[in-house]
């Protein structure tokens, strides 16, 4: 692709949030929240944290066929309120969302309320100040909040995922504002999720396009880790999820540190957890068939008799686990939009 040089510069009365917000709102830009003015100096400060030509076309985002450059990512990072050091994290998340298996054209256009979960792994978590501990999916941390927001602003502005035209989501969901969390590596009994997927870099980022998190609360009163898994399987078993009719759909299981440790103490690996959930998150084939006219299932599932208990996903490897959070007995499940696969990439500038 040829370098992109045209970047619109607009005159605005002053540097105040009110002036910038008014201008952006009049153009139909933004996510509805106040914006930091993307002045050339602020954008340059962001770009100083990456290598390479700021105007080099990197990837195309669908459906708008928007050209991603470091500069346009930097502009949106400024708008979102990012600190410059997280710029490569956002850039890498956007590269991941452009991977073909993510199916961003469908992710953005669907009536489903799919949001793009970003998980940050490795040394960038502490270096950039991400929260991987208590309340990590929630408010109160600049890196988590603004990286997720910057990704959404890029999906709006560059990918064209404007509600009602490029994003047909019937209801939307809060996670579409911002959906970024960091892996709690120090609390993970199984090491880094990214390394487990073959991405052995100092830092990495995973994107998964799905629903908001579904909480799973097991008090461990009976000291039986099977009960944690039983509740996780229960949360995964729902006819309302797109995982039900689409067998390639993944689940991300975000284990709280205490649940993770209990499962590890019972001798379970990531693969064991996935296999257990695959075996226990099931419904009779006839129930699936009663509810769906078309089932995007693996071939072996289609030929099963009605009485067979079929899994909510076509393969144990579609169930991915990582550790996040602080003290307490909560974990969560993030189901998939369905016709999408997660992607994990090294963080690069």
């Amino acid at each position: 692709m040829e370098p992109v040089v045209a970047h619109e510069l607009l005159n605005v009365e002053d540097d105040s949030p009110e002036s910038v917000f008014a201008l952006y709102e009049a153009r139909g830009w933004g996510d509805g929240l106040p914006l930091v003015p993307p002045t050339p100096s602020r954008v340059d400060a962001m770009l100083a944290h990456a290598n390479g030509d700021p105007d080099e076309p990197l990837v195309i985002l669908q459906p708008r066929a928007g050209v991603v450059t470091r500069r346009v990512v930097a502009i949106n990072c400024v708008l979102a309120g990012c600190a410059p050091e997280v710029f490569p994290v956002v850039l890498s998340a956007i590269r991941a969302l452009a991977e073909p298996e993510v199916n961003l054209r469908g992710v953005n256009a669907t009536t489903h309320p799919v949001a793009t979960m970003v998980v940050v792994h490795g040394e960038a978590v502490t270096r950039c100040g991400f929260n991987a501990g208590a309340g990590a999916f929630g408010p109160g941390n600049r890196a988590n909040a603004t990286v997720g927001r910057a990704v959404r602003l890029i999906l709006l502005h560059v990918a064209g995922a404007y509600p009602g035209t490029g994003d047909a989501s019937t209801q939307g969901q809060p996670a579409k504002y911002s959906f970024c969390v960091a892996e709690n590596l120090s609390a993970s009994p199984w090491g880094s999720y990214a390394v487990s997927r073959g991405v052995d870099a100092a830092s990495a980022v995973t994107v998964h396009c799905g629903e908001g998190p579904h909480n799973v609360h097991d008090m461990e009163a009976l000291g039986d880790p099977k009960l944690i898994l039983g509740k996780l399987a229960s949360a995964m078993t729902s006819l309302g999820m797109n995982n039900a009719p689409i067998s390639q759909g993944q689940y991300f299981v975000a284990l709280g540190p205490e649940h993770a440790q209990s499962l590890a103490d019972a001798g379970l690996t990531r693969e064991d957890i996935a296999s257990y959930l695959y075996e226990h998150a099931r419904m009779p084939a006839r129930v699936f068939r009663r509810h769906f006219e078309e089932l995007a299932w693996d071939g072996w599932m289609k030929i099963c008799d009605d009485d067979v208990s079929l899994p909510m996903t076509g393969h144990p490897d579609n169930i991915r686990t990582f550790v996040v959070g602080g003290p307490g007995k909560h974990s969560c499940v993030v189901p998939s939009w369905g016709m999408t696969r997660s992607a994990t990439l090294p963080i690069t500038g």
Binding site: V4, L9, G30, R105, G166
Partner: protein, 196 residues
């Protein structure tokens, strides 16, 4: 003091292409229905194809689900390559859809653009509630004047006799979309619908 700030959208790189040539005469042309499996999609498109045949002399060659081997259909991904090739080999005209949700609209429009690129006139069947999405996608995919037929909404859950009436009522529009005289309206003509 006036300052300068960047706009946030950056450049676009649509893979632009022209519509296929529209036939001068419809009589005797083979029409294929490419079904994405949405509820009532095959029903309403088959009715449209049948009524167009009665009026203009087109022939409904077959109805094909868009999944591999036409054994299934998945509306949220492109048409399977083997089905695409089969349609291109057999059709003079294509009716596809239905574009009555988000991802199914994106991929109905995507499939139609790819078919038009091979020289096949292709009408996408959408509904009033998803027309804006369909026209946005057509513009984004480089073919803003794509042939789009708009039916009432919703198709899923609507009784067959009502769908039949909708198909009959849409026949003038369908014939016009395949006609060199009327043709589809441009995106500019539809600017009042609030498109970005």
């Amino acid at each position: 003091m006036t300052i300068q700030i960047y706009g946030p959208e950056g450049a676009i790189a649509p893979d632009s292409a022209e519509l296929a040539a529209t036939p001068m005469e419809l009589s005797g042309l083979r029409l294929v229905v490419l079904d994405n499996g949405k509820p009532n999609a095959a029903l309403v498109m088959e009715r449209l194809a049948t009524y167009l045949g009665h009026r203009a002399g087109t022939e409904l060659a077959f109805v094909a689900k868009k999944g591999p081997g036409s054994r299934s259909a998945n509306a949220a991904i492109p048409c399977a390559p083997d089905v695409f090739d089969r349609v291109v080999a057999a059709a003079d005209l294509v009716l596809t859809g239905t574009a009555d949700c988000g991802s199914c609209t994106a991929y109905s429009v995507y499939d139609a653009v790819q078919l038009e690129r091979t020289g096949l006139p292709c009408v996408v069947v959408t509904t009033t509630m998803f027309e804006a999405v369909a026209r946005t996608m057509a513009r984004d995919f480089g073919m803003p004047n794509l042939r789009i037929l708009v039916l009432p909404h919703p198709l899923g859950g609507t009784a067959p006799d009502r769908l039949d009436a909708w198909a009959q009522a849409a026949l003038d529009d369908l014939e016009a979309l395949f006609s060199p005289v009327e043709g589809p309206r441009s995106i500019e003509d539809r600017a009042a619908d609030g498109l970005r």
